[in-house]
Symmetry: C2
Subunit: 375 residues, 2 copies
């Protein structure tokens, strides 16, 4: 099968690029002498994640219990569910653990710690948790020096066991230089290592000290005290990562295959059948130095069409135009011809599709890999 | 089952609001003495669309061939596929027609008309099409007075039959007043009626004269010469429509149920488990007079929490904050409690989910309706 046989829009992975991205991250983390717990929320695919994991049993990081259940069904047993747990989800967590999955949760409040403890006491089960640390004022977590940390650990009783600490320096996405990302990586490391030290001083064990974002994992200079790195988007990379200097545009392994459905010569628009339903509404590069619109345009072979950008999107219509609003050689864009669009944000674009079509530097489609969604 | 039994995030329809939205649009189109070909791309649900359609056989408008196939499998036979056709999709169109579905396509170029004609001649089949008209410089289509219109009709030979013309005044989404929307509706009407007249003068039949967007359908004062209206988002309404004056906030029938997972008191943030994966990245109100962030916040019973907004989103994390950055009564937002978020754009938010949980003004979940995605 060839790309030209696919009905568009369709999601395409270049496997060679993906494997190079994986190898690069593995080498970095090996050089930094730190463990790797890849985040599978980017691909939500067994086939992709198999190529990421240190072993068939994991470890992995997930963003939904659906991911935990799907990956456990495929033999993965060492899983961190890295979104703050709520009481209503504990039954599902406990069920998975009872079936043999070593699923950990995260929490950042005494209330959540008490809820887990109460559940474990009532159901005579164990639920291990990491305490979420706020390293960058970006999202959730408690401050490493704050008053809440030790009381949270103290509130974990009965089967609610503390396994350590974790943080995510999502603020690294807003950095303006690789030096700033390296500084953010050190801030991320220092926060979580300090939190682990305070817990140990208070008499708690904290065997796991977990950090992770693709930018900080890429530019961290030292991860002393950290036991594992979670990173996800590096597997595909995307235009936001390229804008941060984390990767080159040629490293981006994910693209959306689209077909040209019409021309608007007066407006300088090539219209395609790939709208935001196929690319997502993510416009992460709008806040970067170079706004890449809805994506950089490639020919069907994956070569960048210099000067073109996907400038607008309706639900099932994409607009491709020249950045300089210059003349277009319309004969180069016949109705029915295919193009490929590199995404702003791989996690968001992949989430719009049910499967990946795999190529490796040519038009031959060598595999179809399923992905899943939901919670 | 109650809303509190649902694992979050989850998509909720208020059926009473939805039925009022449907009845309102039906009455308007009846008053305007025009047919109704509802667009089912918003809900992609058999259960929702059954409540929309004039009969079990349709007519409907779809945005993907997947929708056409799914609805045909449920007995709908009168279908317009309203995205410009490309040659590679003609086999799928012809297969559906051969099975008894009266599927129409659209096109806006001589090249596409020739491709359909060639296919029909080679396969001895009929494929009816509408010519897409550009009424507002918004997307695709040919100008009603332009030189391309009649040659496109002339290029339709063999089984490629012309059924008429269609347009979509998507520019109505950018209008700043209801008078401006009414003027856009007249512009939309005039464009397509003029195009039909030119085709008839040139000796072609144009029985179908099709317009449609929810804003123009809501404020059109006269639709003389138009045979049918396509509109879709009205079924749920959303914050973009409310910002345009098309509906009230209390008309919005779609919301995302989320759980509170943590607090960041220093930042004034309530953190939820509903991120952009649950709401979509659509920020359509950012261009309107009132930016509603990622959505207006409701309590679990559907009452607006005045002064609160979903201000930021990560993949599986939502941030709720006060618009005035004032004090928050944290005890009102306990970890584990549920909230509901009204969407910017119902089509985009619904697309992030596999099913709808149906309520009718209370916390009782009275049904679960499936929806589908893909192309």
């Amino acid at each position: 099968m060839q790309l030209s046989d696919l009905l568009t829009p369709a999601l395409v992975i270049d496997e060679g690029r993906m494997m190079r991205n994986i190898d690069r991250m593995r080498r970095r983390l090996s050089d930094l002498r730190v463990g790797f717990r890849p985040h599978v929320k980017t691909s939500k695919s067994i086939d992709v994640s198999r190529r990421l994991m240190a072993s068939a049993r994991g470890p992995i990081t997930v963003s939904t219990l659906e991911e935990a259940e799907r990956f456990y069904a495929h033999g993965v047993t060492d899983i961190l569910y890295a979104v703050g747990i709520v009481p209503g989800k504990l039954t599902r967590v406990a069920d998975l653990r009872a079936r043999g999955c070593d699923l950990m949760v995260i929490l950042d409040s005494v209330d959540a710690a008490r809820a887990v403890s109460t559940y474990c006491a009532a159901h005579r089960c164990e639920i291990p948790a990491l305490i979420e640390i706020d390293s960058d004022d970006h999202r959730g977590g408690v401050k490493p020096e704050g008053p809440a940390l030790v009381p949270i650990a103290a509130a974990m009783t009965d089967g609610a066991t503390i396994r350590g600490v974790m943080t995510h320096a999502g603020g690294s996405y807003a950095c303006r230089s690789t030096d700033a990302i390296a500084a953010m990586a050190e801030q991320e490391r220092a926060a979580v290592v300090r939190a682990a030290a305070r817990l140990r001083e208070a008499g708690f064990e904290a065997p796991i000290v977990s950090v992770g974002s693709t930018p900080t994992a890429t530019f961290a200079r030292d991860l002393t005290g950290v036991t594992e790195v979670r990173a996800g988007v590096f597997v595909f990379q995307d235009l936001v990562m390229a804008g941060l200097g984390v990767c080159a545009v040629d490293d981006i392994a994910l693209s959306v295959l689209v077909s040209i459905i019409g021309h608007q010569p007066e407006k300088g628009w090539v219209i395609t059948d790939g709208g935001w339903m196929a690319t997502s509404r993510d416009r992460g590069t709008a806040r970067q130095r170079v706004d890449q619109g809805y994506g950089i345009v490639l020919d069907v072979d994956g070569r960048v069409l210099e000067g073109f950008v996907m400038s607008d999107a309706n639900q099932e219509h994409g607009v491709i135009s020249r950045r300089d609003a210059g003349m277009i050689d319309w004969a180069s864009f016949p109705v029915g011809a295919q193009l490929r669009i590199l995404p702003n944000h791989a996690c968001a674009t992949a989430a719009q599709h049910a499967d990946y079509h795999v190529v490796n530097g040519s038009r031959d489609v060598i595999a179809r890999w399923e992905r899943f969604g939901g919670w």
